[in-house]
Amino acid sequence: MVNKQRRLFLLGSLAISAGLICNPSEIWARAGQLSESSEFLNRVADLVIPATATPGATQVGVPRFVLSAIQNGLQGATNLLLDNVQQVINNYVGGDFLVLPQPKQHQLLAEIDAKVFANDPALPAALADWRKLKALIVIGYYSSEVGSTQELRYQLIPGRFEPDVKLGEDRRGWSSDWTGVKYA
């Protein structure tokens, strides 16, 4: 899919050179509309939020949200986001990330992620896009029904406010604590 997007963009660029189309954003809008799935996105989504006692990212439909979010600019994403991130990760690992065994993928992505969040100056600037992609995965998961109500706790109508509840065995956060989510 990603390669298909790139091919489309190149075709579009050729069309521009030929004077046929003059608006690159239109080309990308069309490229974006064709995105229905991405193997790369599925893989990294599950590496970020794997299945545990509760389902992981792809099982709850996170990639679908991420693709829609990318097309509409959430978290500052552009339609190039997936392509860019996949490309820089492939460059970083020196090959095709997707063909590596899963433990190796986890190890390398964790390494990249740690460097990105440590603002490692040696990293290619394009890897900053990883923050955006990870953000969309995290938002998609914890805003899903499973993420909100099973992984975390959710109550739309609490009905009362108890100011000091001792945390016992269940130390899960409230996904419906909108203040805690908004200002975290």
């Binding site: 959430l74 899903s144 739309l156």
Partner: protein
């Protein structure tokens, strides 16, 4: 053209328009309430109120591309969400011009109920010191009223609205007729105790908020369900809005005519009677024009829109806008200077959590410039609160996989944040004019807003940042960051002034009853009337002023004086 006559016309149906309609109809006047926006019915109109994030197309995040186009300004409001985006104006349809950089953020809601549907509900009295401020330091014109004039009207509106809060006996933030307060959580209690022991001049108290802790069955309003999703609209009627409170009261009198989709083009002035004779209205659904006449006219269109309407209302007698013989109409606009004073983490409370969402934070009332003068004028207060960081902290943290997921599953660290609200001095250079060339979707001239914060506001924010850090550190907290640069003007959504009250008709637009000096049957009771800004949220004061002015106007109509 159709013509209709009423005892009173109220322009705008937000917080003050609702109050004007209620008071005037209850006094027996036949009232036409005009709202430029669409009808939003209580309960039925809150279409996303009960939706979960996963039921929305963008999981509660909103469609950024759409927002960038239609809510280029409005999206900066902390109250705009995917759930309630329909309650905010479309910036494409309702543009305005901003002279300064950064641009003024004019945040608006054009519908029945106006911003009363999405307001922050913080409800504070102003103090004697606030009404004295202009006279005391000579900045701005002296208020024609004092706290004592408004106190009984604060009592009156508070009892109807339903304000929950704690009495603290502070002169600078007078107590009101409160419903029982909401509780402080464990970290907020700790900080309150820290202030009591280490900062004798300071108090942390729970936010005084227009959310019921006790039902008001006579108004059909239930107590707060602790959802804290108020700006979606509340079917329980637990917070005060036009829809939940004032409109039903006005309708119950049988004296109200409501007209939505009706924007007022201008107020007509009758040179023979020296009165405002009525209003010219554009029906936004049919594009037809109508004229409605009345004995009294209340402008409650929202501070800047009321000023814009007055500037548009030109006549031979008032070539620069109705009731503008002073020339100050449009001038001395204000908005609180706000910024994040401190963001901190408070360790030591890891086993304490809370259940339910309290729909208010905490407030630390003003403690500066109440005695010994400081290096700046006036003061600041803080609003904020303590909470445990939610899952979204994962956006800023390294980690992937099982361990990361486990970390985000737990309630996050306790955070304590304070937003600074600094008083904005009334300055003549901060003003609204009309741009006669550029029009909005209704063909009305756009407002040109010329606003910048002054040196005093910067000094206040700097002092507030330093004091906030001291308080957090005294409570054993760790400061993560604090700001002393103001958010762009308008961000507080406390825009005020432009038709200020005053004693002298040569330097003010309105008298002590919000009545235009020049046009005795024209009243302006929204934020436009304010002669200073204090550092408290102003809505409660607007309500008290409106109720007081409406009672006065009704007396004048009944006595035949108007």
């Amino acid at each position: 053209m159709t013509t209709n006559h009423y005892d009173a016309i109220v322009v705008g149906s937000g917080i003050t328009g609702g109050w004007a309609a209620k008071e005037l109809t209850e006094q027996g006047l036949k009232v036409l309430l005009l709202e430029r926006g669409k009808n939003v019915e209580h309960r039925k109109g809150y279409k996303n109120e009960m939706k979960h994030p996963w039921e929305l197309p963008f999981m509660g995040q909103g469609n950024k591309a759409y927002w960038d186009k239609h809510y280029a300004v409005q999206q900066h409001s902390g109250h705009l969400t995917e759930w309630n985006e329909d309650f905010w104006v479309d910036d494409l349809d309702h543009p305005y011009q901003s002279v300064q950089s950064p641009a003024f953020r004019w945040l608006r809601g054009y519908q029945l109920g106006g911003k009363s549907l999405m307001w922050g509900r913080q409800s504070y009295r102003w103090s004697e010191a606030d009404f004295n401020a202009n006279a005391q330091d000579g900045v701005g014109t002296d208020w024609p009223i004092r706290y004592g004039d408004l106190a009984p009207w604060y009592d009156y509106v508070e009892e109807f609205v339903g304000i929950s809060g704690a009495a603290e006996g502070l002169a600078q933030l007078p107590d009101g007729k409160f419903q029982p307060p909401m509780a402080l959580n464990s970290v907020e209690q700790h900080i309150r105790a820290t202030l009591q022991s280490k900062f004798k001049d300071r108090v942390l108290t729970v936010g005084r908020v227009a959310n019921l802790t006790q039902a008001k069955p006579e108004q059909g309003r239930g107590p707060c369900m602790n959802r804290a999703i108020c700006p979606r609209g509340c079917s329980f009627g637990a917070y005060f809005s036009t829809q939940s409170s004032t409109l039903p009261a006005a309708v119950a009198t049988g004296n109200l005519t409501l007209r939505t989709d009706s924007v007022v083009e201008r107020v007509e002035y009758d040179q023979k009677t020296h009165r405002a004779s009525g209003v010219h209205v554009i029906d936004r659904s049919t594009k037809e024009k109508h004229f409605f006449s009345a004995k009294v006219i209340f402008l409650c269109a929202g501070a800047f829109n009321s000023v814009g309407l007055m500037l548009r209302s030109k006549s031979a007698a008032f070539p620069n806008g109705i009731a503008n013989s002073s020339g100050v109409l449009g001038k001395y606009i204000m908005d609180h200077a706000t910024t994040l004073g401190v963001v901190s983490e408070i360790p030591g409370f890891e086993d304490s959590y809370y259940y339910g969402n309290r729909p208010t934070g905490v407030v630390i009332p003003r403690f500066v410039n109440l005695g010994e003068p400081q290096a700046y004028l006036r003061g600041f207060s803080y609003q904020g609160g303590a909470f445990r960081a939610g899952w979204s902290r994962g956006l800023r943290e390294a980690g992937i996989g099982v361990k990361y997921k486990q970390q985000l599953q737990e309630a996050g660290p306790w955070k304590f944040v304070l937003t600074t609200f600094a008083e904005c001095l009334p300055m003549a250079h901060n003003q609204i004019t009309l741009d006669e060339q550029l029009k909005d979707i209704d063909g009305l001239p756009q407002l040109k807003i010329d606003f910048r914060f002054s040196e005093n506001e910067y000094k206040l924010l700097a002092a507030a940042k330093a004091e906030a850090a001291k308080m957090v550190e005294a409570a054993g907290g760790k400061v993560i960051f604090g700001r002393d640069q103001p958010n762009p003007g308008g961000s507080a959504i406390h825009e005020m002034g432009g038709a200020r009250m005053g004693k002298d008709p040569k330097t003010s637009v309105l008298n002590q009853y919000n009545q235009a000096h020049d046009v005795p049957n024209l009243f302006v009771t929204d934020g436009a009337a304010m002669a200073s800004s204090a550092c408290q949220n102003p809505s409660l004061t607007y309500m008290a002023l409106t109720a007081r002015a409406a009672r006065k106007a009704a007396e004048l109509v009944k006595s035949g004086a108007l």
